[in-house]
Symmetry: C2
Subunit: 364 residues, 2 copies
């Protein structure tokens, strides 16, 4: 295993933080943590029932060796547990551990653990330091960077949350070895998103390195993660609270969230829903005359080679519109869509009519 | 009734907002609201079972006349309902009303309604505009200004929350006419706090105008509220997230929160707990040699003339320390106390030993 170290700073002024990417770094978190929040005292590690048995012991041991007093909070695994109820368990654990305002909480897990832990960190004592240790490719290339934290409401995904930046994102690509290949594919879908919205060259790089990624090649994964984090960080720095360009990151998400919601978060991984949603956004872009013919097919071929689902599930148009009407990316009664002018060139369309959506859905 | 209009701007840069104080202004909110968030669309008014029957109808009518589509959310009344469960009802109402990111929520009520509504506004879609219409003296002189929003955890008051500023604070001193005199006294206690920590002259003014305040004289109340809001705003602008001087506002609160918590939020109003807590802080200041003899007695006389409780309830020392150990104003394992060097001169003591607290408690 090589020792490829990459660092990227998310330049948010007073709230700037580092993304550290290094194979095997999982056990070396303690030194950086002390540098961030001061002398070792108490901390809480939040994980889930799938990740904790794999990595909790070693992270905990590394921190305790450095003098930290570590408490744990283990959540059930899965998007369907991204609820107010599960979130309140993290708050209970923070109270139980009696963490003070300057003692950190660490999210050790995928996007769900990171989103919920970040939101708990934002609210406990009105904000304590928080560190992301993402263990899925999706979390490493996307959700751990940028400070969007949230839980789901029964009527809409990520409706309750905060913009709250971590103090550090600590990424060990080696942990992906224990990842289910289905989750690896889903994460790759989110990396491909950066290619689709702003970097056609990166999309080609992903296509050429597909086999190495799916074979868990650590160097290739580190490069994939680094490029993705750079794109994410650039966008977040330009528009932290999604007043404008950050919304481009929602390519495929309006449809994707509807798919996740209509299937009760049990059939599709988030990255899978987004892949299908991106196919839909691409076809809509063609139907409305924004993107050249063949755009959808190009993306479809790409997802198929990755092994991502591309078939749009069948629901009545009313169910689609209702599921999307509750999507938080709405302004007033309009629904905003991220569309494509072509590969590598996304934009935000404010004026898409419901009729166009009905026609789109009917076309599948 | 005079038409005394006072405006004060809380100068928080990008997050600056106005405090508008005017007898009878309750029905004139619509014009200002449109100016803040754009053309009338949807809004949600959050109130409670005591305030809604008094004022909801007229506020609602005024907004509807201006073209707003108004939804309501009525909470149970009282500090013991300042819970995660009640808070989630506001989130449900926001989802039900389908408020978008730029549509406002209005808190019409006292400190509990304002704190919970502000925290819901901070989290729904990661933040929507929010307006405070405080209806108790305590909320008008203190809690509606400054952006501290929160709910209680079973193990500690205001432990879960956010710093989230309102877009407008709209204060009608006339609504205090329907206030229970007990609540008026409790609010006066919080106004007196500004005198104790930084303005001895204002304390004398309060003492001289006591009868007019307790007779609900609108002009005197407007002046009382304006001076209090000015003090609060100056402190908040200097230290929005309580890294330093804002903590002075917690005079009497470490003990006061413990009293509220040990009596399960049923025996004392918040302002009453703080009054007793301030007596304790004054005696501690004398015992540790910071304040001259007679400081406690001066404050005690003042509260007695207002009609506030001054008797310290009896609990074992261990119960006190435990209740205070969970207080969110702790740094590490130390407990910070706001103490007095004299009337009008508060400071933060970091080095108070638990033994000193035990001796203090034993002295009552």
């Amino acid at each position: 295993m090589s020792r490829q170290v990459m660092n990227y700073t998310v330049a948010l002024g007073e709230y700037a933080y580092d993304i550290h990417i290094e194979p095997g770094c999982l056990n070396r978190i303690a030194g950086s943590l002390g540098g961030l929040v001061g002398d070792p005292s108490r901390c809480l590690i939040v994980s889930n029932t799938r990740i904790a048995p794999l990595y909790m012991k070693q992270v905990r041991a590394a921190l305790e060796k450095a003098g930290w007093q570590v408490s744990e909070c283990i959540l059930p695994d899965g998007e369907r547990f991204k609820t107010l109820e599960t979130w309140s368990k993290i708050l209970d654990a923070l109270m139980q551990a009696r963490l003070s305002r300057n003692e950190p909480v660490i999210a050790l897990g995928g996007g769900v653990v990171g989103d919920m832990t970040g939101f708990a960190a934002a609210c406990y004592r009105r904000g304590i330091p928080f560190v992301q240790m993402p263990t899925t490719l999706l979390a490493q290339v996307d959700s751990s960077v940028g400070g969007k934290t949230a839980i789901n409401h029964p009527h809409g995904k990520n409706m309750i949350g905060a913009f709250y930046q971590p103090k550090l994102v600590w990424i060990d690509p080696q942990v992906l070895k224990t990842l289910d290949v289905r989750e690896l594919r889903a994460g790759l879908g989110e990396a491909i998103k950066y290619g689709l919205i702003r970097d056609a060259e990166f999309l080609e790089w992903c296509a050429s390195n597909l086999e190495k990624v799916l074979a868990f090649n650590a160097d290739v994964l580190a490069t994939l993660i680094h490029t993705s984090c750079r794109h994410k960080a650039e966008i977040v720095v330009a528009d932290e609270t999604e007043q404008g360009m950050r919304a481009l990151l929602n390519l495929g998400h309006t449809f994707g969230h509807a798919i996740e919601s209509m299937t009760h978060y049990t059939e599709y991984l988030h990255g899978e829903g987004v892949a299908i949603g991106t196919i839909m956004a691409a076809r809509l872009s063609e139907q409305l005359g924004y993107a050249p013919a063949g755009t959808e097919q190009h993306i479809r071929d790409c997802y198929l080679s990755v092994g991502l689902p591309v078939e749009v599930p069948v629901f009545p148009a009313a169910a689609w519109l209702d599921a999307m009407g509750h999507d938080k990316k709405n302004v007033g009664s309009r629904i905003r869509y991220v569309l494509l002018r072509g590969i590598g060139d996304a934009f935000i369309a404010e004026d898409v009519q419901p009729e166009a959506i009905e026609a789109l859905i009917a076309s599948f």
